[in-house]
């Protein structure tokens, strides 16, 4: 049922945003949509903190002899990594769009554990406060990877504070994952079978499995690191009887799967956007859905490809190399299926679709350069150079951040009830794309030429490529600022959005107003069709 026609301007009816006012109504809310917004504002703040460190790094690298003290530069890249990985990328899509949309997409009133959902945000903030305290008190210089024995014995910076921040925020990630798994298992609307789940939900299910199974390992690793740093227990430092390579195994056992925590939800967003703006069911739904699960499972078995030059057994390296190639297959399957979805589609070019195009291109490059690093003899030359930095950012920024921006634009009318200015948004998307490539493409070349990562100063022949990279970063920065401004404006002043401005399929668009009411649906939705049934009859909330 629906009393509002899709095109009629919505009256300002009671919704989750205006149902209640005052700070208590936000800080004590158990509404998944409000918690999603709490997360959205927090991670955006962390994104700009992390971005500010990147600005410092790119400025330093304008000159071969650097601009800042070495210690300052070392702290800049460490804090850029810690903030961006643990406080932006890991929670970025799951805790914001995932939190907002998973219940809406499966036809539930909320997540299974609304209070645990709120708790997870508080835990995240506590973790963030520890990390920010470490920064304010002088910073950390271990690199985001915290390699021992440097971190456990040699560094004179606030390692413990930052490590506690990462440790604590991990629990927020575990709780979010747990909440999603239970919600997706137990709270699907009648008729919402596993085969009808939107691919966004499948991606979040796979992500949640990694969060729940992987995150405890980083927590254990950090505790061991703390035991060695504070109590001098010999775990990683050979001078105390420990093994430094053990740290790397433990660290990457979480941190490699964690890159899939960061990219899988982005893939979910792209599946939704491509289906909507091609007006077509996703080609190979089952393959795309199960490739998420395959990535989650195989992703746990490839950590050793970070240790090809670390003194790990050659035969272990060989096995890790092989499985790393295997995990490339489900990623490739997704790219091919998205492309095939566009075949004979009805394609339009609104901003979310532009970000999806960008994602496909940049993720393809990011994925293919991952094959270079899985190839052992090539990795020996490339590991710990700028090639790795470029590869990682093609996946994490070119992939994840573009998917995040695409998703924010796509669901902006749903979240705020307003439309964003389409032309500004298109221009910003193009600026982001151009700036991104100019920043990171030169880093592939300078990496193969041999420039190591984490260098405050570098050989003169690398300067041209570094200056190009810094120039690109300034364009990229502009591309991030423009959406901040017009989205903030549109939230208050943008034209009111109809319930379903994109004519998209899915319960969140067809069965719930924009913005949704506190309990999401006026009536319990019942699902009678496959996901992405763009060709079928328009059946808005049919009983």
């Amino acid at each position: 049922m629906s009393t509002t026609l899709p095109h009629a301007p919505t009256e300002e009816r009671v919704n989750y945003l205006n149902a209640d006012y005052g700070w208590q109504s936000w800080l004590f809310t158990t509404d998944h949509k409000r918690i999603a917004l709490l997360y959205l504002f927090s991670i955006t703040a962390f994104f700009f903190v992390g971005g500010a460190f990147a600005v410092g790094m790119r400025l330093n690298l304008l000159r071969p002899d650097g601009l800042f003290q070495h210690d300052t530069y070392n702290k800049l890249f460490t804090m850029h990594g810690i903030i961006m990985v643990f406080f932006f990328l890991v929670p970025s899509i799951p805790a914001t769009l995932g939190n907002f949309l998973v219940p809406l997409m499966i036809g539930a009133r909320d997540l299974a554990f609304p209070r645990i959902n709120l708790l997870s945000w508080y835990i995240y903030i506590v973790g963030g406060v520890f990390a920010l305290t470490a920064i304010v008190r002088g910073g950390v210089d271990t690199g985001w990877t915290f390699y021992a024995p440097f971190s456990s014995t040699y560094s004179n910076t606030h390692v413990i504070l930052a490590a506690i921040g990462v440790f604590v925020s991990g629990f927020s990630s575990i709780l979010t994952g747990l909440n999603f798994i239970v919600t997706i298992h137990k709270m699907r609307a009648p008729g919402m079978t596993w085969g009808r789940l939107p691919l966004f939900v499948w991606a979040h299910y796979a992500t949640s499995l990694i969060q729940v199974l992987g995150t405890p390992v980083i927590a254990i690793t950090i505790v061991l690191l703390g035991l060695e740093r504070i109590l001098h227990a010999g775990i990683f430092d050979p001078a105390l009887g420990g093994d430094p390579v053990l740290f790397q195994h433990l660290f990457w056992f979480y941190s490699h799967p964690a890159v899939y925590i960061m990219i899988l939800p982005g893939m979910g967003v792209i599946s939704e956007i491509i289906a909507c703006f091609s007006r077509k069911a996703i080609f190979g739904y089952g393959f795309v859905a199960f490739s998420s699960v395959a990535i989650a499972v195989l992703g746990f078995l490839v950590w050793g490809h970070h240790l090809f030059v670390a003194g790990q057994s050659m035969y272990a390296s060989m096995v890790f190399s092989f499985i790393s190639f295997l995990v490339a297959v489900p990623s490739a399957i997704k790219v091919f299926n998205w492309t095939a979805t566009m075949y004979r589609g009805s394609i339009s070019f609104e901003t979310p679709m532009l970000y999806a195009f960008g994602f496909i291109g940049l993720f393809t490059i990011g994925g293919l350069t991952g094959l270079f690093l899985a190839t052992m003899a090539i990795d020996v030359h490339l590991t710990d150079t700028y090639f790795v930095i470029a590869h990682f950012h093609y996946v994490m920024v070119g992939g994840m951040v573009l998917a995040f921006l695409g998703g924010i634009h796509f669901w902006f009318p749903k979240i705020t009830g307003r439309m964003y200015p389409e032309n500004w948004a298109r221009i910003a998307a193009i600026i982001v794309f151009v700036g991104f490539n100019l920043t990171f493409f030169p880093q592939f070349i300078v990496g193969y030429l041999g420039m190591p990562r984490r260098y405050a100063t570098y050989a003169e022949e690398f300067q041209v490529l570094n200056v190009l990279s810094t120039a690109g970063a300034s364009i990229l920065g502009l591309g991030y600022l423009i959406p901040m401004i017009y989205l903030a404006w549109a939230w208050r002043k943008g034209p009111r959005a109809p319930q379903n401005p994109w004519h998209a399929k899915g319960l969140e668009w067809e069965n719930s107003p924009s913005p949704p009411p506190t309990f999401n649906f006026d009536e319990q939705p019942i699902v009678t069709e496959e996901a992405y049934n763009y060709a079928g009859e328009v059946q808005v909330g049919r009983h």
């Binding site: 390699y147 077509k280 790219v335 075949y343 339009s348 291109g361 393809t364 899985a374 190839t375």
Partner: protein, 326 residues
């Protein structure tokens, strides 16, 4: 050095092989990227929505043959990457029998290099062309990584263990040494130069930098100085096992295991003698040297103990003469 080259200089036999594999990956990678780019742009233009109320297109739910095609064909290309990359990796990290051994110790923030004949350098490495060189790496503090871009090689320098790799230089010149594993404040200053020389020039350089005592001789001096000689007497009558002909041979342990006496075993037996006790000998006879001896000295002791084995007798002089033969 040209400012805008796309590959670093190729100065070893392995560098060309790595570049060839890199070329294969680039061709496959660029072909895939172009393919996807062209198809996406083509679809986007051909199937663009011509009017807002265009009827929704017919759904296409998928195709098993297509899914298999685009899973299997890329995977076959990847299998070539895997096999080729693994072969090269095993080659690069498995030194041939007869090598010129050079020892590198990393510490915050410098590289200390020792040659078998006793020459020592800091942040400089000299190697001849046409001869397999084995580098043994040790660290005095944190993890470093010894990176030689012109040879397409690096290996982490892991405290508490020895790591090795080898190469055969081909092109005389001066090339970068970088530390590639972040190691603290002056990580980016932990850099140096590897100088590749023709064998004759190398021989002259060795002669000009001679210090008098070879590594083995320096090790022998330490062997006396630390009092090792009082128990490890050269026949087998001492309280501790004789070290003659130990290196490179199997050793029977009291717990029944047999291990081969390599550098790692000798290192452990000096630093922590109780870890492995030779059959017929007692615990707690030898003092623990963990923290008592520098990595440089430890390497000299090991080279000395190596020289006591018949198969590798007088390694220092042998290496030098072999260079001359080139």
């Amino acid at each position: 050095m040209p400012t805008l080259s796309l590959v670093p200089p190729r100065a070893s036999t392995g560098a060309g092989q790595v570049d060839a594999l890199y070329g294969y990956l680039l061709v496959v990678g660029i072909a895939m990227t172009v393919l996807i780019f062209v198809v996406v742009v083509f679809f986007a233009l051909k199937y663009r929505r011509k009017s807002p109320d265009e009827p929704p297109p017919k759904p296409i739910h998928g195709s098993i043959p297509l899914e298999l095609t685009w899973s299997v064909i890329p995977f076959l290309f990847m299998l070539v990457m895997f096999a080729w990359g693994t072969k090269l990796y095993f080659d690069n990290y498995t030194p041939p029998r007869d090598t010129l051994d050079i020892y590198v110790v990393g510490k915050q923030w410098m590289w200390k290099v020792q040659y078998p004949d006793g020459q020592r350098e800091i942040n400089e490495l000299h190697v001849p062309t046409g001869r397999a060189v084995k580098i043994t790496l040790a660290s005095e503090d944190v993890i470093h990584s010894f990176f030689l871009p012109a040879f397409r090689l690096k290996h982490d320098v892991v405290p508490g263990s020895y790591q090795t790799f080898w190469f055969q230089a081909t092109l005389p010149g001066r090339y970068h040494i970088f530390c590639a594993e972040y190691c603290g404040t002056n990580h980016s200053r932990m850099i140096g130069w590897v100088t590749v020389m023709e064998p004759v020039a190398y021989q002259n350089w060795l002669a000009g930098s001679a210090t008098g005592a070879s590594m083995a001789e320096q090790g022998q001096k330490l062997f006396d100085q630390f009092g090792c000689v009082t128990c490890h007497v050269t026949d087998s009558q001492g309280r501790c096992p004789s070290l003659r002909n130990v290196f490179g041979n199997p050793v029977q342990l009291e717990d029944g295991r047999t291990v081969v006496a390599n550098e790692a075993y000798i290192r452990e037996s000096i630093l922590n003698p109780n870890a492995k006790i030779v059959k017929g000998y007692k615990h707690d006879v030898m003092p623990v040297f963990q923290g008592q001896i520098s990595e440089d000295n430890l390497l000299q002791l090991i080279v000395y103990i190596k020289s006591l084995s018949a198969s590798t007798a007088a390694p220092a002089k042998a290496a030098a003469t072999q260079v001359q033969k080139q």
